[in-house]
């Protein structure tokens, strides 16, 4: 798919692909194959500096989660994000054979989150900065 509209990302080093088919950009060690997110200039496992960027899988499973029930302090959150705070989900999503990525979840109801459930990468507005996009994971429906 080609890029249809200019988008503003929270950090262009993190996210590739397109608005409708985004990809997270991690790195892979050329020596031992270890995958990390975000990109690193060296390998945390084998210390090699021969690492290259790698687009990560977009689907995985929920490895663990919580609900952030109180507004984070600003900084490092932003004042605008604190002002519009609503509880939000956070989790680690295991991308098979790659890495577990920490991300916001589109679901914030604890009754609807379960370890092991399938999840997919999506983009959401940056809290308190609607014009920018950041990454998140959403639960996949049964037929998806």
């Amino acid at each position: 798919m080609t890029q249809t509209s200019p988008r503003q990302l929270i950090d262009p080093d993190l996210i590739g692909g397109t608005d409708t088919e985004p990809r997270l950009i991690g790195s892979e060690c050329s020596r031992c194959g270890t995958v990390t997110f975000p990109r690193q200039s060296s390998c945390a496992k084998c210390t090699s500096q021969d690492v290259h960027p790698r687009e990560l899988a977009t689907r995985g499973t929920l490895w663990t989660w919580t609900i952030q029930c109180f507004a984070p302090k600003a900084p490092p959150y932003t004042e605008a994000a604190v002002a519009e705070f609503e509880p939000y989900g956070v989790g680690y999503i295991e991308l098979p054979g790659e890495v577990r990525v920490e991300a916001r979840l589109t679901e914030s109801d604890p009754e609807r989150l379960q370890i092991g459930m399938p999840m997919e990468l999506t983009l959401i507005p940056v809290p308190g900065a609607r014009e920018k996009l950041t990454f998140a994971f959403r639960p996949l429906e049964e037929d998806e």
């Binding site: 929270i10 975000p38 989660w65 919580t66 952030q68 029930c69 490092p76 956070v90 990525v101 950041t134």
Partner: protein, 384 residues
């Protein structure tokens, strides 16, 4: 280890934990230092090495302007939650090497109300991490225990029992901050902070200070009749594969935590087994941390905590009393002071001087463990 290179805690000093408006962290540190010196029956001039630190309340070595300008070498330590453990590691090494005979370690802190707000840039992460709402220690602890509960069959009731025990112990400790006992139901029904952890399952950033006088060889017996020997102190950072705070990603392959490695090293160096421990203090940033650290340190098997805690074994009168002074949950978390508070408490228990929170059974072997961001741990083994 021969008699001449044994190291013992010979003086204990603590400034009450809690909120102390108008008293600076440095002043609390100096008060704790004076109390430790008095407890050892020595003066500041007798100290030939010092180490200490705080996370947010200033440079420890400036306390020489309060204690006296004796020219003593004084190393500042700033190592997050492991600040106290690092100060102790440094002093222990100086004593064992023969570079000093009497050392003072001090840890203190003073934090504003509310959760900590570290900046991602200071932890090697982009600002996006904070702006997205991921830069919170509470999230990490919640997600770690959430996974652990699913893997090892730990119940919410057990989370609440850990906190109830902490407040029960705190109510007996005059130096604790939270001194009102709370019931399991009250803890479970308090405000949800980060599922599965509620408000009363978390410690709060606070204020306080602890100082210890350490001595080596023949000086030990000259200074105290009840030395508490520091058999080992071990400090570790994280390995690839361990699940630690402030990690935008974690590997799928897992590795032992910094705590597991530090504890194993401390027990090995002391030639003492975890099963020999009579009383222990472990990092209880929140209820889940105490549960997980019990197994990471080797004090019990993974999954055994449910039965251990439900049966009351970790209470003051139990088989393995844990966090007998109320831990971080009841004492609060002044980052620079907490690691030394644990050693202070073990020394009190082994000396039999803990008063209302004294463990009723005889105790000869104690253990401490601190844990902090971004994956550091320091452990000690202490004996009579």
């Amino acid at each position: 280890m021969t008699g001449s290179d044994e190291v013992a805690v010979v003086g204990l000093g603590i400034h009450e934990f809690g909120r102390h408006d108008g008293v600076s962290g440095l002043q609390m540190g100096a008060i704790a230092a004076r109390r430790a010196l008095a407890n050892a029956g020595i003066s500041w001039e007798d100290v030939d090495f010092a180490a200490g630190g705080s996370d947010a309340a200033g440079n420890a070595d400036t306390s020489v302007s309060i204690l006296g300008l004796t020219g003593v070498p004084f190393i500042n330590v700033k190592n997050g939650c492991a600040t106290g453990g690092s100060a102790l590691t440094t002093a222990h090494a100086m004593l064992v090497s023969g570079a000093a005979e009497v050392a003072l370690v001090v840890g203190f802190d003073k934090h504003p109300r509310g959760a900590f707000n570290p900046l991602p840039e200071e932890w090697g992460i982009g600002s996006w991490y904070g702006e997205t709402g991921l830069m919170l220690t509470t999230q990490f602890f919640a997600m770690k225990i959430q996974r652990y509960m699913a893997e090892h069959g730990i119940s919410s009731s057990t989370l609440a029992k850990v906190a109830a025990k902490a407040f029960a112990n705190g109510s007996r400790n005059p130096n604790a901050w939270r001194r009102t006992p709370l019931g399991e139901e009250e803890i479970l029904s308090s405000k949800m902070v980060n599922n599965p952890l509620t408000q009363y399952m978390f410690c709060s950033p606070g204020e306080g200070a602890v100082a210890l006088v350490l001595a080596r060889g023949p000086r030990i017996k000259q200074l105290t009749r009840t030395p508490v020997y520091l058999r080992s102190v071990a400090f570790r950072t994280r390995r690839f594969g361990s699940f630690e705070v402030f990690s935008p990603s974690i590997p799928i392959e897992s590795a032992p935590s910094a705590t597991t490695e530090a504890a194993a090293a401390a027990f090995e160096e002391a030639a003492i087994a975890p099963s020999d421990v009579d009383v222990a203090q472990v990092q209880d940033t929140e209820s889940g941390a105490e549960i997980m650290h019990l197994a990471e340190t080797g004090l019990c098997e993974h999954g055994a905590q449910e039965a251990l805690i439900q049966s009351g074994d970790t209470e003051l009168s139990g088989r393995l009393p844990i966090n007998t002074d109320g831990g971080c949950l009841a004492c609060g978390e002044p980052i620079g002071a907490s690691g030394l508070r644990q050693v202070h408490e073990i020394a009190l228990q082994l000396r039999g001087e803990a008063g209302d929170h004294q463990v009723p059974k005889p105790c000869r072997v104690g253990f401490t463990q601190v844990y902090g961001a971004p994956g550091v741990s320091a452990c000690t083994v202490l004996t009579l």
